[in-house]
């Protein structure tokens, strides 16, 4: 694997790109750009988080929506007892979702892949049932979270939310990229390629898998934390929406699961496509599109767009392998 630049350099460049993006969006002079952009950024965090577990260790998580919802409901919980600023809520959500991820890992990671996947599906329903029956956070009726009109120095509240999500994107991408280049990342890769052999060679597979589930869960929770302020009214079937689970899987799969670039590419392409489809066609058709693309890609291009591009480069004579 290439060493390339250090993580600090990468984070710096990402921050510069982020700042550029923010001011470009502001120059559009229309808050719709921020509303649509927020959703896409949120999907980048979700897809990257999914890929830390799914792409690097090969364990498929079908419960992304549950982790996302735990983050969102952490916000609702604190909103009811003691409203905190969003950055603190993001940290609280990361802790809550990370713990759920850790518990999930403890329960199921001694089993092999398919069981873990099914158990994550189960987890989503158990958590949703708990929330539906927990009236303090709104129960099945849902909960209103009134967002302030604006926060100093921003023109509008959505710009503030957009910026928070942008920071989360930078943190998530930097973390994912750093993992790939670290001992941790190589450990994850051994689990993905041959868990039994890895264990036999002394790789602490259970510990690594627990790190991956906790980290992946924590990022999904972070993506969910600002959501109640974005949407204004949170109800269980919205927070546990299947579209989060599907997109969290489809985006890395379509982009490519081997590197941090894949989820980014997948989320930007699929996220933009969905924003366009929602406006021009309908939200049901838009979900169908995601499903069909997912099935098509896993059959025809299992290494995603990144894999396709890499193959094209390799076939070109004289190109670097």
């Amino acid at each position: 694997m290439k060493r390339g630049m250090t993580s600090w350099m990468f984070a710096l460049i990402a921050c510069a790109a982020g700042a550029l993006l923010f001011f470009a969006a502001r120059s559009a002079g229309n808050d719709y750009v921020f509303f649509a952009g927020y959703t896409i950024l949120q999907y980048i965090v979700l897809a990257t988080a999914w890929n830390i577990l799914g792409g690097y260790t090969g364990y498929v998580n079908f419960g992304s929506a549950a982790f996302f919802a735990v983050g969102a409901y952490t916000t609702v919980f604190f909103h009811k007892i003691f409203p905190l600023p969003i950055p603190l809520l993001v940290i609280a959500a990361a802790v809550a979702s990370g713990l759920v991820g850790l518990g999930m890992g403890y329960l199921t990671l001694r089993l092999r892949g398919a069981f873990f996947a099914i158990a994550t599906l189960a987890l989503a329903v158990v958590l949703q049932t708990l929330i539906v029956n927990w009236s303090f956070v709104g129960g099945s009726r849902g909960a209103y979270v009134i967002r302030p009109a604006t926060v100093y120095p921003f023109d509008s509240y959505i710009q503030y939310l957009f910026l928070i999500m942008l920071v989360l994107v930078i943190v998530a991408l930097t973390t994912a990229r750093a993992i790939e280049r670290s001992r941790l990342g190589y450990g994850f890769a051994t689990i993905r390629d041959d868990e039994l052999a890895a264990e036999a060679s002394g790789v602490p597979t259970l510990k690594l898998k627990l790190i991956a589930t906790a980290l992946s869960g924590a990022f999904m929770g972070m993506a969910g934390a600002p959501f109640p302020y974005y949407i204004g009214f949170l109800h269980p079937s919205g927070a546990f929406g299947l579209e989060y689970t599907v997109n969290a899987i489809a985006m890395p799969m379509i982009g490519g699961t081997a590197t941090w670039i894949g989820p980014l590419v997948g989320a930007v392409l699929l996220g933009t496509l969905q924003q366009v489809a929602i406006v021009t066609i309908s939200s049901a058709v838009n979900l169908l599109l995601v499903g069909l693309l997912l099935v098509g890609f896993v059959i025809l291009a299992p290494n995603g767009l990144v894999g396709v591009v890499r193959n094209l480069l390799r076939k070109r004579p004289g190109a670097q392998p």
Partner: protein
């Protein structure tokens, strides 16, 4: 806790359990025996429900008759899906992650297509026995109250489910194909050396597993009105039963189905129906954590 309430909840649970057996047997074959994690199975069951709904609404056919008529079509669908799965994933040796994503995609696409065509309204079927109980259906007053009050809406699917289950068990235990199916799950190479093609046997087995969804779907729409996302509730149930009973064990599936039906029914009676979905999933998580080989595992 009153005894009457307990007994009637128990009986309702047994009836529900019989139906759950029919819903799960397809997964027991595909996941338990063939090791194909077909999480899209509940979506095919819903497809079966809508097939029953269309033919019932158009021609007034009995839903169970529709289920039987639809068997070959679902068998063909299953064979087709297995062929795609085999060529794209099994042959490449990459079935674990991309295969899971493939079935997840199928689940999702099927559900969204049904929503696009039929909307999210609940659909139901009509048949002479649906809104009556055993006493009225037989027209006899001699039955004890406990039997006479059994709703036909639950009883018919339960009895038919168990009949279907028995036939499948006979096929697996007594016929050449059935024995080959068990053999392919144990040692595909050995089967190949005996001159049978493992791929062909697996295709037949997977096609049978999808065919069961045609009948299970008909049972489902007799029991309750159906809308496209109902299938999601069954994902946890079917895997909970399959794992609880023991992977690849058909009798285990029946036991697991009965157990889950009874526990769910008791929970719904004494704690309220909104807790029922958590039962199966909770049971699944506990089984996976503490006894992953199940009650009657191989």
């Amino acid at each position: 806790m009153s005894v009457d309430l307990f007994v009637s909840a128990l009986i309702a649970g047994i009836l529900l359990g019989g139906f759950y057996a029919a819903v799960t047997v397809g997964i027991s074959i595909s996941f338990g025996i063939l090791d194909i994690v077909n999480i899209a199975h509940p979506a095919f069951i819903i497809l079966g429900s809508y097939t029953a709904y269309i033919l019932n609404a158009q021609f007034g056919l009995d839903p169970i008759v529709v289920g039987i008529i639809a068997l070959p079509a679902f068998y063909a669908l299953g064979a087709l899906i297995y062929q795609v799965y085999y060529v794209s994933f099994e042959k490449r040796g990459k079935e674990s992650m991309t295969g899971l994503a493939f079935f997840f995609g199928l689940l999702f696409v099927t559900e969204v297509l049904l929503i696009l065509v039929f909307g999210v309204d609940y659909r139901y079927v009509q048949a002479s026995y649906i809104d009556t109980n055993l006493g009225k259906f037989l027209g006899s007053t001699a039955l004890p109250a406990l039997l006479a009050d059994l709703p036909m809406r639950m009883l018919v699917p339960c009895v038919m489910s168990i009949a279907m289950f028995a036939i499948l068990l006979l096929i697996v235990k007594r016929t050449f194909v059935g024995r080959a199916i068990m053999a392919v799950s144990q040692d595909a190479l050995a089967l190949q050396l005996q001159g049978a093609s493992p791929v062909r046997i697996k295709r037949i087995a997977f096609a049978i597993s999808i065919a069961t969804a045609a009948l299970a779907g008909a049972f489902l729409i007799i029991i309750q009105p159906v809308e496209p996302s109902v299938g999601r509730e069954y994902i946890g149930r079917v895997f909970a039963i399959c794992v609880l009973g023991g992977m690849g064990s058909l009798p285990g599936t029946l036991v697991g189905a009965m157990l889950l039906g009874i526990i769910e029914s008791l929970t719904a009676t004494f704690y309220g129906p909104s807790w029922a979905p958590a039962v199966s999933f909770g049971l699944l998580l506990l089984t996976l954590a503490f006894k992953p080989s199940g009650l009657m595992g191989r």
